[in-house]
Symmetry: C2
Subunit: 495 residues, 2 copies
Amino acid sequence: MFESATFAHHLDKAAFKAMEPSLREDLLTAQFQLIEQKRRSLIVLIHGPDGAGKGAVLNRLYGWLDVRKLQTLTFDMPCARDDRPAMWKYWRELPPFGQIGIMLGSWYHAPLCKRALDEMKRGDFMAALEDIQRFEAMLHAEGVSLLKIWLYLDPEEARTRLKGVTKGEWQRPVVREWEELKGSGPRKRLLAISEDAARATSTETSPWHVVPAADEEYRDAMAGSLLLEKLRSLAAEPEPAPQPLAPNPTQLPSTLPTFSILSTLDLSKSLDEDDYDRQLAQEQSRITRLTNSPRFADAGLVVAFEGSDAAGKSSTIMRLRRALDPRHFRVHPIAAPTDEERARPYLWRFWRHIPTHGRTAIFDRSWYGRVLVERVERLCGPDDWGRAYGEINDFEAQLSAANYVVVKFWLAISPQEQARRFEERETVAYKRFKLTPEDWRNREKWPLYEAAVTEMVDRTSTRIAPWTLVESEDKRYGRVKVLKTIADRLEQALG
Amino acid sequence: MFESATFAHHLDKAAFKAMEPSLREDLLTAQFQLIEQKRRSLIVLIHGPDGAGKGAVLNRLYGWLDVRKLQTLTFDMPCARDDRPAMWKYWRELPPFGQIGIMLGSWYHAPLCKRALDEMKRGDFMAALEDIQRFEAMLHAEGVSLLKIWLYLDPEEARTRLKGVTKGEWQRPVVREWEELKGSGPRKRLLAISEDAARATSTETSPWHVVPAADEEYRDAMAGSLLLEKLRSLAAEPEPAPQPLAPNPTQLPSTLPTFSILSTLDLSKSLDEDDYDRQLAQEQSRITRLTNSPRFADAGLVVAFEGSDAAGKSSTIMRLRRALDPRHFRVHPIAAPTDEERARPYLWRFWRHIPTHGRTAIFDRSWYGRVLVERVERLCGPDDWGRAYGEINDFEAQLSAANYVVVKFWLAISPQEQARRFEERETVAYKRFKLTPEDWRNREKWPLYEAAVTEMVDRTSTRIAPWTLVESEDKRYGRVKVLKTIADRLEQALG
């Protein structure tokens, strides 16, 4: 990967000066297309050993581009103060479509560093690279393009340069990303590992570009040219073809009976009032105790509620609410996205609500909207919702890896019970606001929702974040089952 | 303030049950008007001793209202982990217009608690209440209404109830806001202090409502009724009358010569290239050193750039950028607000970018937009920009109190120099994007801007955050002055 970069590459200062004005103009023209189209954002990852000029390239690009639509995205190594999942900080700073972000200290940083220091085993390192590849594929599919630049500098040369810095020959701050890697042993190791990583994570859509960095002019001109090429290719992308909005891509013969996972539920399950009062209090008390326990300070709880209209999401959340300290949880009702949310990948609206450790986030409808309502109502194409299963599994795996307990409920009722509840909402004054004419219309799509739920459960019920289908025909039974499930999962996780 | 609450207040369970459905319906109707109008948000502050039922009232309101437009805003006491200004967390969670937030642990919490524990002197306490009053007045004027409820409970009764909790008689979590206040001495002191505070901060627009809390039904019915009354009064507010969009409210006789603070500047100041190179490097180096010093870890730097078009904001920021570690600063170009920003008070868009300690935020145009472009271009009325001076002074005072160094620059050039630079932008290809026809048109408003700048400097150049007017006719002189000012201010602050 780094072979050709080890040879001398040079660009005359005069030649650089001569090419700079037109490169600059072309870059601006291309950047304006990105801004105008607002279809994509672009993140430029700049990596390489300390001394290769990561900060200098960043500053050069700032000199060339329109800085008003440019963001610097720079991250330190993960540290003890990060009390959210590792990927949260990257999500949080994703630039909106139309903008460019230049990133130092990307998601490659920690695995490369840890592996070079031998704090990470080879298998884990390869798994981390796999995760990164999937993450980058998701970004690309969701509108965030990547330009990955590796500044190559011979380790000896890098060492010489860094010595110059500490001796005060240079006045400018140098981003010392690799401070942990002292001495030439780990640094050589880093080089070898980086080469492997760059090879392994060079995909068709997001390849690494190795830029020889010994010569400043060559380095900057090359970085600028790569950026120009990337921006031009983005501008030339055809408008995405309208996807066929099919509610279900599986074309099975209609003679085959369709299976619904919901049909397996015994909706006659119920609880009498005394049992309900007792069990509800008991489960609330368990949840109170568990979320107040010292172990929960290093964990988190993320609960997603899905279900048919009128299945009892709100009233169940109300019972859960009473078990939790109001200072340490938030309920997030998921409605139409804001413009800040629309300008970023789908999962951004959920990532932004992931709480710190010791806290709970309750989602009243969730990231499963894409494979439920958006699929059934044809609000997005099969490419989008078809891809969402994997993206969601990755999202939940990242939460789980950061010690968050992810609990997901589908609250199920029969169509008859739903009709009965709708009618009740029509007659009881303070329930009327909960019913719209649309709710009645949606009932026609019941079979489509059943198919969507079945596929959703099959594809996203993982060991770390299994689905719990809740028989909610009897409200009391449903509520107790939800609270008990949460208490059990917490107990299991906190030991 | 608490006199009448000390007498017995009681509501029959049966009477409560009888009134609940219509109260609930009325609340929902009134809430929907708030949602529809989207003109205001409402924050319900619930205060009172532990045991009075703050959490219970919150849960009751959740049972009555449409929870999809309801947020819980709950805050712990300030702690060492808060490395932003004290008010930042309240700003961050402000609900958008159309929504209701119920707040426990509000901005009253820390002063009341500290004063009850005698950790705060009387004078400081009164000053804190003053600050709160101004903050609340700002919220009200900016579209955030407050309903402040004090749950009154006799201290002895509160003690008895809390003992019950610790003995496990109650299963529900109780928000223990006042855990620090153990024993009856501090608790009685808290009561007296709270009474003073409630009296002092009961203003016309945001009075305290004292609700006797010994009887659950009475308490909840009263809280619900107060909320209903408040929502109805908000709904009945007339549409704000369009303000006369006068660029300048001061109607002085035109025979009086107008004074411009900018006319006092000697724009002939300049630096030759050698001096420039040397001094620039020197000031950059000072800034690098100061922002990397251990003392800066408990401080922060907020820099605001304003100035005429083409005065050199971007190119100056570029020089500042090179002095800073890219991991620890962000530049925020201020453009049109997003819909999330428009749905909240004006300063919210700036508060959200205030960094943690140890970091720098650079604003390319800033919160002064309201008293500059918005005033001159008549984008808001004189009420709005007239009020902004005080709001901005409070904002900067809060930053300064939290150890942030606030540095503000107006980059000044002559109209002739601006014309020259505009023409240069027209001819140099890569500068063309920086010029729009609007820029030429804006030149006609030069005298209006001079008047606005003069008033702005007079009213917001404070000891803690003075304005620095920068003679930028000579770019080199201007850049060095900016960097030197930042270095001086940092040096002075960090000692």
